[in-house]
């Protein structure tokens, strides 16, 4: 199929970028979206031009590296699907597609479609972990966890830290990501000792990194490739309120 693309090109963090049009022909409908961009880049390289920079790693929907806002939607039009798992059969001959980077003050563009998501790493460093003694793994059944909690924690742990929630949010808020991490850990017995310092530390880092507040509009959950729901934001709010009252 033949496609008209408009892609955000920006040479580096300090130079102004713009949407640049490209035409591409002979795209297979079996190709993935990123393979389509690979083909475009081969053409660009053959023409001696600068290829389009974009993030990717596993290409199987588990690492959280791929990004791309496709026609105004983070990870594109298909629900519960990362960009790398989006396939060209979603499109038809003659379609035009707009491709932009995640837009958020806390995620500055590095080049073209690649943004710096280290703000998420800092939020994790500020509390998104448990401290555990090293050594052999404990016997799996030594700490029983109610099935309901285990399931909820597992669902929250599905977050791959891609940042689509921030990209989708009109407030540029990282609450869904943070909520997923806080829910995951605070539902587990292993997460209890650091429960209060965790939520206070993560929220402080979130705000200091320049993410906005949550309006409960829900764009994040609609964009999340791992279907993290707004309930994790409720849980985050609740954990934060309790921890803040105790700290006061």
């Amino acid at each position: 199929m033949k496609l008209s693309l408009r892609i955000w090109r920006q040479p580096d963090a300090d130079t102004k970028g713009q949407m640049v049009p490209y035409e591409i022909e002979g795209v297979s409908e079996d190709a993935s979206f990123l393979e389509m961009l690979d083909v475009l880049n081969e053409h660009l390289i053959a023409e001696g031009k600068d290829p389009v920079a974009f993030d990717h790693d596993c290409r199987e929907g588990i690492c959280g590296a791929c990004s791309l806002v496709i026609d105004g939607q983070p990870h594109g039009p298909q629900a519960a699907t990362t960009t790398c798992q989006l396939h060209m059969r979603r499109y038809k001959d003659g379609d035009s597609i707009d491709i932009e980077p995640w837009r958020a003050g806390a995620f500055p563009v590095i080049k073209d479609l690649v943004v710096d998501r280290s703000a998420f790493d800092r939020i994790i460093q500020a509390g998104g972990y448990i401290s555990a003694p090293t050594g052999t793994a404990p016997e799996a059944h030594s700490v029983p966890i109610p099935k309901q909690d285990a399931d909820a924690a597992f669902n929250a742990a599905a977050c791959i830290g891609c940042g689509a929630c921030v990209a989708a949010c009109p407030n540029g808020s990282g609450m869904l990501f943070m909520g997923a991490k806080v829910s995951h850990l605070s539902l587990m017995p292993q997460g209890q000792p650091e429960r209060r310092t965790r939520v206070l530390g993560m929220v402080a880092e979130h705000d200091a990194s320049g993410f906005g507040g949550c309006t409960n509009q829900g764009e994040c959950a609609a964009a999340c490739p791992k279907e993290i729901g707004l309930d994790v934001i409720g849980k985050l709010n609740r954990d934060f309120r309790k921890a803040a009252v105790r700290a006061a």
Binding site: P108, D121, A204, D207, G212, N216, L230, G234
Partner: protein, 244 residues
């Protein structure tokens, strides 16, 4: 926006102001917004119910208005209930708008660049961002008009402070139909504000699970409809001559 590639996980240059106060955080401000909002909702329900005295006629309505002033007499001083309400409301409005300004500024910095391709909102509470902020401005302007009209009577033909009934009749007189239209417009903005605001406040304060969030959304819609209907019926009845 520059990026220091050498230290990609270093803290940002603008260090957070120490000591960090949880109540200054985004969530803290949202809690302040939610609590002040809920206080205003409680007030507004009482206000709406009070307005319905109009349908009992001039004596009853004015007696209700006088009753509000002399509430608790002779134990409590004159207008004590009203003053508690006034102070509570002014405080709520100050907190609500103060938190709003801080959060809006942060949101603006957090999302400085728009997408070239705008896709329509598909969240659970679509367009809440615009409804709350721009609808909120309509509500704010309305509150000012409302005070000038029915509290201070600056723009109302009936100056007698004891004749609340007459003031209501005069302001929604068929000849002043734009007043009724503005009132209904502001009510629409209020209804939309509360449909989102009420469940948003519950989400912010209590953080319900998915099942209860859905229930809260339904309750918020019902309360918003009730409030809008209860308020709208008065100007409509006066403008269309059902009471006069």
């Amino acid at each position: 926006m520059s990026t220091d590639l050498q230290s990609r996980t270093a803290a940002p240059k603008a260090a957070r102001p120490a000591p960090w106060k949880p109540w200054r955080s985004n969530i803290g401000l949202k809690i302040a917004m939610a609590v002040s909002g809920v206080l205003m909702v409680l007030f507004i329900i009482a206000h709406m119910a009070g307005n319905l005295h109009v349908f009992e006629g001039r004596e009853e309505m004015n007696a209700y208005a006088a009753g509000l002033r002399s509430f608790g007499a002779p134990l409590l001083p004159h207008e004590s209930l009203l003053w508690v309400m006034r102070i509570g409301l002014v405080a709520s409005i100050a907190v609500h708008i103060g938190a709003l300004i801080a959060l809006s500024r942060r949101a603006h910095h957090a999302r400085p660049v728009r997408y070239a391709h705008r896709h329509k909102a598909k969240g659970e509470s679509p367009n809440a961002y615009g409804i709350m902020r721009f609808g909120g401005i309509v509500i704010f302007l309305f509150v000012i008009w409302h005070l000038l009209d029915l509290t201070w009577r600056t723009v109302n033909p009936v100056k007698d402070a004891h004749d609340a009934y007459g003031a209501v009749m005069a302001t929604f007189d068929p000849d002043r139909w734009p007043v009724t239209v503005f009132y209904l417009l502001a009510l629409t903005a209020l209804g939309l504000h509360l449909r989102h605001g009420i469940w948003s406040a519950v989400q912010t304060i209590a953080g319900p699970n998915t099942k209860w969030r859905k229930r809260t959304q339904a309750i918020a819609l019902a309360v918003a409809v009730l409030i809008v209907a209860g308020f709208a019926i008065v100007p409509l009845a006066v403008t269309f001559g059902v009471v006069s």
